[in-house]
Structures are given as structure tokens and as C-alpha cells.
């Protein structure tokens, strides 16, 4: 079991778990054997030796104890496996989260984030089946038949041989067919999710279908597709079911063979009844674990696939983050922020790297408002990622008052940066808590103040529960503009010297845009403000504009200077003008 070995690596309790589950399986086997022994003995005594109830009372009481013991083992097994499953799941969840933190936002971005979120929830949950059912069943399948086999051999050689011969044949058959069926089953699952996706697509496009008068025809399409899918799948399933058919057939037929075999030998007096009945009682128990295993196979496939995804993430090497030279040096940014000849290239999977910044230098003084402009792909976001230390420069350095920011602890440095991302994330909690992300210990007054500065308070007042209204996934939805302002409130609440604003490309309504800009103007004197600007309004208000093109600073100056000197800037401005002057 590959997943086993890897789990052993990650999960400390795994070893104890294996021992406990193994021990419980062994106990179960013992209970089964002794239980069968006593049943056979009692029936033998009453049936053939004509004993009365009083003579078998002791045996009956022992049998009752054995039954109670067996039941207790089942309970113990459930509790032990659940305990381990719970522990493993919570351990892996945390490990995953910590690993993701190490890998950083550059790894968890875009479309991948959905899949990763899914891994940390569903894939982890799917491990339950492995720990609660599959692994204990594997143990049982190894231990119980072995123990029974020994008991049968000790009782009756011929029956033992029959069991010994049939046992390996069954799994081999099952595996042979199972392998084939698995490939098919997997395809079926893919088809299945494909079909569900198609159905979803149709539901989401229902208005469109309606407008084009196609809505009625779809009903038949859905039925036909589902039915056709059912038909083709049945063909596949027939094979898949064969595997359990063989299992079932094999075990029941060998059960029948043993019954007839010992029956006939009993007839000729070649075996005593008690032993014959003992063997008969053990035979179904012999095959039971294997049959159960077959039915739990699918659950284990899910677990294995999930575990694979989890390990894939856990095993990504984390690039050694530069360690601060002086461990706990407090990060400061007082006068000047300089970016000195910074280079950065994104790794693009195969050993190639895509150059994003090629020697960018830039200085911001406290109180300055610098706008970063350039076409998309010019390197603006890369610069922001470097300033946030989501990535580290390949060459060159970013310095705060002459100190390389890499010499600070990353968390210490980030406490100096307030960031308004282009697509801020809304957490599934209240408005107030979402703003408080900037500073969890902030008082309510400060939160309100930040919201007011970001021109968000009027909107919040219209919400049913004001600041305590739930937003995010399960709550009220915010418009793009409101989201931007909320994220600005977050950044303002943080009260960090460096304000890094990634302006949204979409249009805010004119009134709130103006208000937001006034707020930024007001706080600018005590801050370092760097705006990745997309709108003329913002650009024209900056103290200095830096034009990025293909990863390099090609011009910098005031709006007027650049209009006179930089052709690229003129071109950019012309594009923005056209954009905003379409009317």
C-alpha cells in the first residue's frame, strides 16, 4: 500500500494505529473461532449426546461472554479508527495550510485556488473512509482468514486444503477483473462529472435558451443524454459487477463444496459431527472479510486519489526564504524606500523563466505619491508582489532607509505595508471583521473611521445589520466598487507607512471615485503611496509618475513632463483618454 507508507511518514500516530487495528483484528479472529467452537460443542452435546440444558449451562455462559466480547471489540475498533482518522485529518489540514503559507500566494492563485481549497476540504475528508473502513478491513482480511485457516487445519486437513486453495484464487480473480473495471470505473466517474457539468451549464444558460426559444427542446436532450449515459455505463458496470460476482460465486460455491464434502465424510463416519459443524460455522467467516473488502474498494480509491493530491502539495519543495541576518531586528521605514536595479523572472514550469522585471530602480520619499503606469504585462504587479515579499528579487534589492528588506523577518516587513489588491478577497464573516483584517485589535471607532475614510460608511448604513452584516460567500454580495472601498478601508485601518494601491480597472461611479481620491490625498503626506494606476484621474494627481514598459522604467516625472518627453506615455494617455472619452 503506497498510501500507507507515505501516511506513515506524515502521521506520527500511524504506527500505533496499525498495531491497534491489527490487535483488534486478531482478537476478533479469536472470538470467532472460540464462538464457533462452543456453538459446535453445545449442539453436539445436545443433539448427539442427548445432554440436558443443565449439562451445557457452563458452555452457554462462556458462549454468551464470547459474544459480548466480540461486540466490545467491534466498538473498540470503531472508536480507535475514528480517533485516528480525526487526528490524521486535523493534522493534515494544518500541515496543508502551513505548507500553503510557505508556498505563498504566488502558488495559490487564479484557477488553481479552487482546486487547492477542494483538496484541503474534500480530499482530507475522504481519508475517513481509508482509516475507518478500508485499512481495518485490509487488516481483517489478512489476519482473520489466517487464524481461521490455522484452526480449520488443526481440525480437519481436507477442509483446510479446500480453504487454502480457494482463498488466493478469489483475490487474484478479483484483482484481474478489478483492474479492468477500475479503468472503466474511473472513466465512468469522469463521464459522470462531465454530465453533471453539462446539466449545470444548461441550467445556468436557461435564460439564454428561453430567449432563443430552445427551452422546450432541452428537456428531451436532458432525458436522452441521461438515458444514453445510463445505457453506456451499464455496459461498463456489467464488467465491474463481474468482479464482485466472482467473489460472491467463489465464496458461496466453496462454502457449498465444504458443506457437501464434510457432509459426505460425516455420513461415512470419517469425521466427527462436532468438528464438521465447527468447520461449517467457520467457512462463511473465512470469506466474509474478503467480501467486505471488495465492497469498500471504491471508497479506498477515493481516499487514495485524495491522499495523492494532499501529498502532491505537501511535497512541493519550498524555496528557502532568505533568513534575516539579525533575527529580531524591528523593521522600519522612515524616510526613503528605494528599489535598486531589481530583476525578477517567473518560473514557467519547464526550466524556462519568463522575465518580468529587468533592472527596475525607483525611489519614494515619505509624503510622496507615486503612480506606476504601463500596459498590462509591463511588470507593475510583479513590483507589487516584490514589495509584499510574495516573491524575492533575483537580482538587486529593495531597501527601506538603506536596509535591504530581506534582512527583516517577512512578517515584520509586511506589517509596514498596507495593500489594496485589485481583487480583494472577502472573508466569510461580518463587514466589521472584514475591515478588521487590517488590524484585528482595532476598536469599533477605528473601524468606522476607516470605513468613513474609504467612503464606505454610507453603504454600510444601508445594510440590514450595519457593520455586523455577514458578507462573503454566504452573505450579501458587494459590487466591485464597494469591494474596492472595503479593501481600502482595510488598508487604511492598518496604518502602515507604505500604502500599496492596485487600482481596479473597472469604473467606480464618479462620486465615490472622487471621494476616495480625496482621502488618499489627505493621508498621503505621512505615507509612502505607490499606486498602480489605471485611470487618468489618479495618474494626473500623482506627484510623480513612473512608466514601466517590458520590465523596465522607461520614463518618470510629472504628468506634464512626461507628456512632453515620453512617446510611450503619450500613447498610454491617448489610450486612457479614448477609453474615458468614448462619450
Amino acid at each position: 500500500m503506497q498510501i500507507n507508507k507515505r501516511l506513515l511518514q506524515y502521521v506520527k500516530t500511524m504506527r500505533i494505529y496499525v498495531v491497534i487495528v491489527g490487535a483488534l483484528s486478531f482478537l476478533t479472529a479469536m472470538f470467532i473461532i472460540f464462538q464457533s467452537h462452543y456453538i459446535a460443542a453445545i449442539i453436539n452435546a445436545v443433539f448427539l449426546q442427548k445432554q440436558a440444558l443443565a449439562q451445557v449451562t457452563t458452555a452457554l455462559i462462556i458462549l454468551l461472554c464470547l459474544l459480548l466480547g466480540r461486540a466490545a471489540v467491534i466498538w473498540g475498533n470503531d472508536i480507535a479508527t475514528n480517533f485516528v482518522a480525526g487526528t490524521v485529518k486535523s493534522e493534515l489540514r494544518l500541515r496543508l495550510f502551513r505548507q500553503l503559507l510557505k508556498l505563498g500566494p504566488m502558488y495559490v492563485r487564479g484557477e488553481r485556488s479552487g482546486e487547492i481549497a477542494n483538496t484541503s476540504t474534500e480530499a482530507v475528508e475522504a481519508l475517513d473512509a481509508y482509516f475507518n473502513q478500508f485499512f481495518p478491513q485490509v487488516c481483517a482480511t489478512i489476519i482473520i482468514p489466517t487464524a481461521i485457516l490455522i484452526a480449520v487445519f488443526a481440525t480437519d486437513l481436507l477442509s483446510g486444503i479446500i480453504l487454502l486453495v480457494t482463498w488466493p484464487i478469489l483475490p487474484v480473480f478479483m484483482i484481474l477483473i478489478g483492474l479492468q473495471a477500475n479503468a472503466m470505473t474511473e472513466r465512468r466517474w469522469r463521464q459522470m462529472s462531465h454530465l453533471s457539468a453539462h446539466f449545470l451549464d444548461v441550467l445556468q444558460g436557461m435564460t439564454t435558451l428561453k430567449l432563443f426559444g430552445r427551452n422546450k427542446a432541452q428537456q428531451e436532450t436532458i432525458r436522452n443524454m441521461s438515458n444514453r449515459y445510463g445505457d453506456t455505463t451499464m455496459a461498463v458496470l456489467r464488467v465491474a459487477f463481474l468482479s464482485s460476482f466472482v467473489m460472491e460465486m467463489g465464496s458461496t460455491i466453496s462454502n457449498a463444496v465444504i458443506a457437501v464434502e464434510i457432509g459426505l465424510r460425516l455420513l461415512y463416519g470419517n469425521i466427527p459431527f462436532e468438528q464438521a459443524f465447527f468447520v461449517l460455522l467457520l467457512t462463511p467467516e473465512f470469506y466474509q472479510p474478503l467480501r467486505n473488502l471488495g465492497t469498500q474498494f471504491h471508497a479506498s480509491m477515493n481516499s487514495a486519489a485524495g491522499a495523492q493530491r494532499i501529498f502532491d502539495i505537501l511535497e512541493i519543495p519550498v524555496k528557502g526564504q532568505a533568513q534575516p541576518t539579525i533575527p529580531e531586528k524591528p523593521a522600519t521605514l522612515e524616510q526613503t524606500l528605494t528599489i535598486e536595479d531589481v530583476h525578477y523572472a517567473y518560473p514557467t514550469g519547464d526550466d524556462n523563466r519568463q522575465e518580468a522585471l529587468k533592472g527596475v530602480s525607483l525611489t519614494i520619499q515619505r509624503g510622496q505619491k507615486v503612480a506606476l503606469v504601463g500596459k498590462s504585462g509591463a511588470g507593475k504587479s510583479t513590483l507589487a508582489n516584490l514589495l509584499l515579499r510574495f516573491i524575492e528579487p533575483d537580482q538587486g534589492a529593495i531597501k527601506a532607509d538603506g536596509q535591504d528588506i530581506l534582512s527583516f523577518k517577512d512578517t515584520a516587513w509586511r506589517s509596514l505595508v498596507a495593500w489594496q489588491p485589485q481583487r480583494p478577497y472577502l472573508f466569510n464573516t461580518t463587514v466589521a471583521d472584514n475591515i478588521r483584517l487590517g488590524r484585528p485589535e482595532a476598536s469599533m471607532e477605528e473601524v468606522v473611521e476607516a470605513a468613513r475614510s474609504a467612503n464606505l460608511d454610507e453603504f454600510i448604513a444601508t445594510l440590514p445589520q450595519g457593520y455586523e452584516t455577514s458578507i462573503g460567500e454566504r452573505g450579501t454580495r458587494l459590487s466591485g466598487g464597494q469591494l474596492q472601498r472595503l479593501s481600502l478601508a482595510r488598508a487604511l485601518l492598518k496604518q502602515s507607512p507604505l500604502l500599496l494601491l492596485d487600482e481596479a480597472t473597472s469604473t467606480l461611479d464618479a462620486e465615490s471615485e472622487a471621494q476616495v481620491l480625496r482621502t488618499i490625498d489627505r493621508i498621503a503626506p505621512e505615507h509612502f503611496v505607490l499606486i498602480i494606476a489605471h485611470r487618468l484621474h489618479t495618474i494626473s494627481r500623482a506627484d510623480r509618475i513612473v512608466v514601466l514598459d517590458h520590465g523596465q522604467v522607461i520614463a518618470s516625472g510629472t504628468h506634464q513632463e512626461l507628456l512632453e518627453q515620453s512617446p510611450v506615455y503619450q500613447e498610454l494617455i491617448k489610450a486612457y483618454e479614448e477609453e474615458e472619452a468614448v462619450a
Binding site: I43, I74, L280, L281, E579
Partner: protein, 588 residues
């Protein structure tokens, strides 16, 4: 019987024969298992008395028969039950689609303060689809096990009763206890814990999703440790709950096993004196014990059946909740009238979504002659999109009149109405298929040339040719492989292809950046030719195109006129115009 369960059974009604057949086969499988063990027991008990071989022959045949029958019945049962499942899935899908269809799109839009908000429709529908996937197993996992358990219970009661009333009583008492009593007890004990577990799990899940998707924000604001602690706390809580649940579920498995063995044990205990007194043949002793053990196979799947019942009912409840809305619009029972021309007239129209809500539109009147263009502008929340939705009859208005071609809008069947209109909405839904099929949806019988011509007019053709597979390129889930501008151009090409006399454009460029907007507006200008056009817009672009402009504010028409006349009167329109220009002017 609770209502969702009854309705669920109604949905499964058409496949009842398949289900009964599967239940029958399932019962036969277990009966074969019981038969195998009891005839085996009988066989060796008989053999122990050393009779003639011929006395054993029936038992031997029986053992062989049951040995083979069990596997075969199981196999058949699987085939039939899966067939039933697929039928059920198809039925559920068609049912849900048909039930939802008349409700769309109104059902997925909620109104608040007179404004529309799209309910997270993607999430809602995604949930619905997975709920339907859950329900497809309703039969196999939930409905079949109790049926089979019932059949086995009755038959074995009779079987044991045949050896003596007391054996029948012992059996049925233990059987009922383990098939009804224990699941019920487990339900009572586990109810609170499982509910708490579901909510804790949901909370943990949403925290994990938040942590992953919001990781940049968390790290940038230095909140990762706090989040990790919060996850850890939630983890601990969940773990504790899982343990509590394990005690209960473990108890269930334990007691079921114990009761099964106790049945055999009690039978033995009771039978021994009978055998001793010679009132019962000793041969039967082994039969009773093995028969009792084997018949509990019918009870074992009940535990999970009870557990899944809750989930199935929950899924069903959610689905019913979606479809149990009153349609916003009823189709008239009479066939649609023939429109006299392609003009639109609206008179004294007032509208609100609910009685309790404020009016969204008040006393709106306008006349749009055939082939003319009307633009509706106004700040967001002014009611302009509502007006567009009323024209599409997504809702019905309460006061005033709306006529199309001289006939009231409500007299038209929705389908006939849409045959006369092409619509370009804010967001264009593209189906996850090729560009060709996405275009051809507008007119199924269109030729290749017509389609290309439409694409060319919509300025889509060159873009399509630049794609690796041209018109056969798949657009991806929800058309995500295309940009917003490209998607809008697909919508315009669809409109060209549909070629209707009336055109309704509802903020077709609202989600586009300005440069793309320019190009899309050019395509719209081409589309506009000769068609009666209503365009709702928030940006004042291409306003010269309009023969009349309505300025909406708080649901009322506050100004109307042409672009030039409105600018002259220096009202709201003029202010909007100035505001829009100001940004540019200030910048340059």
C-alpha cells in the same frame, strides 16, 4: 410521512417496477444465503445420523443450488438497481429542469430596496446539481434496504415459526429490535451531535476555503497565524464531535452484531430443552442457529440507510425550495395575437416587485415607432434594467400598459415574443461547447455562410480565425476562455443570425473596459440598422444614435429628448455628461 419524503417517492414512482424488481432480487440474494447455511446445517446434521446417501441428496442439491443462486441474484440485483438509478437520475433532471424553467430568470434574482441583486445563482444551481446527484442514490441506498429487510423479516418469522411459535417470537423480537429499535436509538443519541458536526464541518470548510483563496490578503495583512489558530481550534472541535459520533455509531454496529448473535444464542437456549424432551428433532438445532445468524444480513445495511435518509431529505428539501416558487409570469392560454407592426408603446407604467416593496418604476410612458432607437439612461438603481426585464416579460407589470405591435405584451406567449426580439445582455452565457454551436443556437437551420456572415458583421470572424480550431474551438466552462468583449460579440453575432425586427440591449458594455467597449459599440451600430431598438446604458456613449433618450431617476422619467436637446436643457443628463467628460478634461 413528511412532505419531502412523499414528494420524493412521487418522483420515483415512474420507476417503481424496476425498484420492486431490484428489491425482490435483493431479497432473493439474502434468502439464498440463508438457504445455503440452513441446508448445509441440515445436511451435516442429517449426515451425523448416518442415514442412506439418498436421504441426503435433496439437501446436497439444495446446498449447491443456493451456492450458485446467491451470486447470480446479487449480480442481477446490481444490474437492475443501477438501471433504476439511472432512470431516476434522468427523471430527476428532467423534473428539475421543467420545474425551474417557468421560474427563470425571475427565481434567481432577488429584489431588495427596489433593486435587483443576482442571487448567487451559480452557487445555487451548482448546489442543486449536486443535490440531484445525491438523490439518484436515494433508491439503492435509502429505499431498498428497508424493503428488503421487511421481506426477510416476514419470511424468516414464518420460517422460524414453523418450528415452534416461540422461535418465531424470539426471532421477530430481536429482528425488530435491531432493525427498528437500534437505528432509532442511534438517531436519538446521534441527532444533536451530527447536526453540530455538519455545521462545524461547514464552518471549518468555509474557513479553509477562505484561507486558501484569501491567502494573499491574509499574508499581506499578517493574519496567517491567527487564521492557523482558528483552524486548529475548529479542528479540535470537529475531532471531539467526530469521537462523540463514533461512540454512537460504534454502539450501533456493536449492538447489531450482539443482537444477531444473541438471537442464535437464545434460540439455542430455548431449543435445548425441547430437543432433550424429544419434542424437537436435534437436526433442527444447527438449522436454527445458522438460520438466525444468516437472516441478519437483511438488517446490516439499515444503519447507513437511516443515515443517508437525512441527507437525501435535506437535498430534496433544498430542491423543492427552489422550484416551489410561484412563476413570476403566466403564459396566456390563448394563442399569441399577430403584431400589426414592430412598434413598442408603454403607457403610464408603474411597477414594483412585491406589494411591500417601493415602486421601481412610476408612470413611465414612451412610444417607439418601428425602426427607431430609444436609449434609456440613468444612474444605477434608477430602474432602467427593470424596464428592460419588463419588456422581456421576465416579470409582469401591474399598472399601465405595454404594447408590442399594438397588442398588449401579456397577450403573447413568451416564446412568440422572443421570436421577435434579439437581446444582448450585460453578461452573455456561453455554453460549454464550440463557438459554432454557441452561434447556431440563435438559428438552428442557419447555413455555414450565414453564420460566418453574422460573425463577420459582429467583428468576431477574424478573432475566431485566429483560434487554433476556428469555429470548432471549445469556449470552455461558461465561455471563460473568451474575454468579455469576445463574449459580447458572440451575443451580437447571435442577434445578427437571429435577425429579428426588435433589438433589446441591456447595458451590453457595462463589464468591458473602454477600448473593448468602443469595438463592441461599433458592432452594435452595425446591428442596429432598421431595427426597432431599445438600449439601456449607464455610460453616455454613441448617444447620437438615439432618436429619443429617456433619463430615468428613481423610477421616473425626469428628462427626455435627443442628445442635443438634452445637453441644451442642462439638467441631469447634462450633469452626467459633464461628469463623464470632466475626468478626461481634468486629466489632459
Amino acid at each position: 410521512m413528511s412532505s419531502p419524503l412523499r414528494r420524493l417517492l412521487q418522483l420515483a414512482w415512474p420507476i417503481r417496477n424496476w425498484m420492486l424488481l431490484a428489491a425482490l432480487l435483493g431479497s432473493l440474494t439474502i434468502i439464498s444465503g440463508i438457504g445455503l447455511l440452513t441446508t448445509s446445517a441440515y445436511l451435516i446434521s442429517m449426515a451425523a445420523l448416518h442415514p442412506d446417501v439418498s436421504a441426503l441428496s435433496i439437501a446436497i442439491v439444495g446446498v449447491r443450488f443456493f451456492g450458485i443462486a446467491r451470486g447470480s441474484f446479487r449480480y442481477l440485483e446490481r444490474l437492475v438497481s443501477h438501471r433504476a438509478t439511472f432512470r431516476l437520475l434522468a427523471n430527476l433532471r428532467v423534473w428539475f429542469y421543467s420545474a425551474l424553467e417557468p421560474l427563470m430568470p425571475a427565481r434567481l434574482l432577488v429584489q431588495k430596496d427596489g433593486q435587483q441583486h443576482e442571487l448567487r445563482s451559480g452557487d445555487l444551481l451548482r448546489r442543486a446539481v449536486s443535490d440531484i446527484d445525491t438523490l439518484q442514490n436515494f433508491y439503492i441506498r435509502v429505499l431498498a434496504p428497508p424493503l428488503v429487510a421487511l421481506v426477510i423479516g416476514v419470511l424468516m418469522w414464518i420460517f422460524f415459526g414453523a418450528f415452534g411459535i416461540v422461535f418465531g417470537l424470539i426471532f421477530i423480537a430481536f429482528y425488530l429490535l435491531s432493525s427498528v429499535g437500534i437505528p432509532w436509538l442511534a438517531h436519538l443519541l446521534g441527532q444533536r451531535v451530527s447536526r453540530e458536526m455538519v455545521s462545524t464541518q461547514a464552518e471549518l470548510e468555509s474557513q479553509l476555503v477562505d484561507s486558501v483563496q484569501g491567502i494573499a490578503d491574509l499574508i499581506a495583512f499578517g493574519q496567517q497565524e491567527r487564521q492557523a489558530q482558528s483552524i486548529e481550534r475548529m479542528n479540535k472541535k470537529l475531532q471531539k464531535l467526530q469521537m462523540t459520533a463514533a461512540y454512537v455509531s460504534g454502539m450501533q454496529g456493536t449492538l447489531t452484531n450482539l443482537l444477531m448473535n444473541l438471537t442464535a444464542w437464545t434460540m439455542l437456549l430455548v431449543a435445548i430443552p425441547y430437543v432433550y424432551r424429544g419434542e424437537l428433532s436435534g437436526i433442527i438445532l444447527a438449522v436454527l442457529v445458522l438460520g438466525a445468524l444468516a437472516s441478519f444480513e437483511g438488517v446490516l445495511p439499515l444503519a447507513s440507510s437511516f443515515q443517508q435518509l437525512g441527507g437525501s431529505l435535506e437535498a430534496a428539501r433544498r430542491l423543492f425550495e427552489i422550484v416551489d416558487a410561484r412563476p413570476a409570469v403566466q403564459n396566456p392560454t390563448t394563442p399569441s395575437p399577430t403584431p400589426q407592426d414592430h412598434s413598442i408603446q408603454v403607457k403610464d407604467l408603474s411597477f414594483r416587485y412585491e406589494e411591500s416593496e417601493p415602486y421601481v418604476l412610476r408612470d413611465v410612458s414612451f412610444t417607439l415607432p418601428r425602426g427607431k432607437c430609444l436609449m434609456i439612461v440613468g444612474p444605477s438603481g434608477s430602474g432602467k434594467s427593470t424596464l428592460a426585464n419588463l419588456l422581456l416579460r421576465f416579470w409582469d407589470y401591474q399598472e399601465g400598459t405595454m404594447t408590442l405591435g399594438g397588442q398588449p405584451l401579456q397577450a403573447y406567449q413568451q416564446d412568440d415574443l422572443y421570436q421577435q426580439m434579439s437581446v444582448v445582455e450585460q453578461d452573455t452565457h456561453l455554453f460549454n461547447t464550440t463557438i459554432r454551436e454557441n452561434l447556431m443556437i440563435a438559428r438552428k437551420q442557419a447555413s455555414e455562410e450565414e453564420m460566418i456572415e453574422a460573425a463577420r458583421k459582429a467583428q468576431l470572424h477574424d478573432f475566431v480565425l485566429s483560434l487554433p480550431e476556428g469555429y470548432d474551438t471549445a469556449v470552455g466552462e461558461q465561455g471563460l476562455r473568451l474575454s468579455g468583449g469576445e463574449r459580447q460579440r458572440v451575443a451580437i453575432a447571435r442577434a445578427f443570425l437571429k435577425n429579428t425586427p426588435i433589438l433589446l440591449l441591456d447595458e451590453p458594455t457595462v463589464n468591458l473596459d473602454a477600448i473593448t467597449e468602443r469595438a463592441v459599440l461599433d458592432a452594435i451600430k452595425a446591428l442596429r440598422q432598421q431595427r426597432t431598438t431599445i438600449m439601456v446604458t449607464h455610460r453616455l456613449a454613441e448617444m447620437e444614435m438615439a432618436d429619443e433618450i429617456l433619463v430615468l431617476h428613481h423610477g421616473r422619467i425626469v428628462e427626455r429628448g435627443t442628445h442635443a436637446s438634452l445637453l441644451q436643457s442642462e439638467g441631469l443628463y447634462w450633469r452626467m455628461w459633464q461628469q463623464q467628460r470632466a475626468r478626461t478634461v481634468e486629466a489632459v
